[in-house]
Amino acid sequence: MKRMTPWLLPIVQVLIAVGFVVLVYAVTWFGQTYTFKATSYEPYDPFFSDSIYLEYESFKGRQDVDPGTVYVTFKTDEDGYATVDRVSSRPFFGGTRANYFDRQVYIDDLSSYRIPESEVELIRGEKDFEVEVDVAPWGMVRAHELRPIEAE
């Protein structure tokens, strides 16, 4: 036991790091997939950043809660895109934490998307996207695919 003590910390720290990574993949394993419609302010240019900032049309609109931290769930509308379902100021199990102000819901983890090297050419110069988002039963979200929508 005495000999083990110095090694406790590296082990704990590796477990914490691995735990976070597993948590992220668990969102995909156990989560439900929603398709969101998103736009960015300007066409994506990989020269400036490997991330893209996204806005969601379906998050706009008046909600029946006080501004500030809110918790939301999602549902799929008739047009096939997801939108906000339940909104509450009190935390509940399965709710995703978000901010509500200026009549709009903001979800930190969805507001930017890091584009992998292999998708850069596909995304370059595009503004309108479909985003595949996994939502875990415990409320974590993970955007995992970005597809440009062809302008009709």
């Binding site: 910390l9 590296p10 914490i16 935390p91």
Partner: protein, 376 residues
């Protein structure tokens, strides 16, 4: 010079020669430069291809570096004990770097409060296991970050986790500075609990201070952090004085019931513990009632009297009066900026202040002198 001395001289020369040879065994300068260049090329290769590296490999690279730091620290234990702590600190640094890589790669910005609490816990574990003062500093930094980042929308699990870590720090680390930081972490957590419970009134900072007196019930023998309560009480009194006339304090009338209960508790807590210094903390009992009066004059007069009384009391008991004096001055400044700014000429105000201070120091000096006379 006899044979013995000659032999010793020969031995000495041999030893010196051996020592010199050993020193010349250092790696030649070209090898050092070469390995530095190699390391640089490796680093730049990784950096240039960073985006192309698979996510899991990125995390693994950092984790391997982190473990390597701890292994190096253990290896150096006997050979170069001076550098052991350095490598352990580097271990924490690489842990933080790993977490930053994970958080940016997987876009986990909403989990940042959890990350800060885990960092805090890891720092406390370092302090517990390795017992080096630098880890106190790291733990305090992590505690500050964790507390300030969890004001908004923190969950119950995080609050419980925070309490467990803070308590472990407070209970198991037998060091006064650690206790002071842990105490502040407790206070910050209690403030966060108020946020979580959606407390709407204005007295939560005082409630948190009252609740913290529970620590005295469990740790009876540790009287040395009485002054923390005094310090926070002083800060609170000035904070309430500043806000008494404006902003969030005067928008809504406080509840009479709450003010009564809070005041009674403050006095009860003092009566329960009977620590002489804490009588000054229990004077906060007046604050809830003074807020019913919008102008704040009552609070100003009261705090003025308390500041003066504390100063005289400290001197009477032959205790250091520096802090009491600073508090007295702070109350003067606050009252000046809030109440007298546009009503009194600035020089007149400072003249009166100076006269008060002069009179005070004269009185103290006079008393000390006469007391000294009696003793001799």
């Amino acid at each position: 010079m006899d044979e013995m001395t000659g032999q010793r001289l020969v031995d000495y020369e041999n030893e010196r020669l051996a020592g010199r040879e050993k020193r010349e065994h250092k790696p030649p300068i070209l090898v050092i430069i070469g390995s530095i260049l190699l390391a640089l090329s490796l680093f730049s290769f990784v950096a240039a291809n960073w985006q192309a590296i698979p996510d899991l490999l990125k995390v693994s690279i950092f984790l391997i570096f982190m473990v390597a730091m701890y292994v190096t620290a253990e290896q150096l234990q006997t050979r170069a004990p001076r550098y052991v702590t350095l490598f352990r600190v580097l271990g924490i640094v690489f842990f933080v770097a790993t977490m930053i890589v994970i958080f940016t790669t997987y876009n986990l910005s909403s989990q940042i409060p959890l990350l800060f609490w885990l960092m805090f816990g890891v720092a406390v574990l370092h302090k517990l296991i390795y017992q080096h003062p630098i880890f106190t500093f790291i733990a305090a930094l992590a505690a500050f970050l964790a507390n300030t980042n969890s004001f908004q929308g923190v969950g119950l699990t995080l609050i419980i986790l925070g309490f467990i870590i803070t308590w472990a720090w407070f209970h198991y680390v037998d060091n006064e500075i650690d206790r002071i930081f842990a105490w502040f972490s407790f206070y910050g957590l209690l403030i966060t609990v108020g946020q979580y419970a959606n407390y709407e009134g204005r007295f939560w900072p005082i409630w948190a201070l009252v609740i913290l007196h529970v620590l005295f019930l469990i740790y009876r023998e540790r009287a040395q952090w009485n002054y923390l309560y005094l310090f926070v009480a002083a800060l609170l009194s000035i904070g309430y004085l500043i806000n008494a006339t404006e902003g969030w304090l005067s928008q809504r009338q406080p509840s009479v019931l709450e003010a009564t209960v809070l005041s009674a508790l403050l006095v009860a807590v003092y009566l329960l513990h009977r620590r002489p210094e804490l009588v000054w903390v229990s004077l906060l009992a007046v604050v809830p009632f003074s807020l019913f009066e919008d102008s704040g004059i009552l609070l100003a007069i009261f705090l003025e009297a308390v500041a003066l009384g504390y100063l005289i009391w400290q001197d009477h008991n032959r205790k250091p009066i520096v802090l009491a004096f600073i508090y007295f001055l702070l109350v003067q400044m606050t009252i000046y900026f809030i109440y007298v700014w546009d009503r009194l000429d600035i020089s007149l105000f400072f003249l009166i202040g100076a006269l008060i201070v002069f009179a005070l120091s004269l009185a103290l000096w006079w008393r000390n002198r006469t007391r000294g006379d009696v003793r001799t």
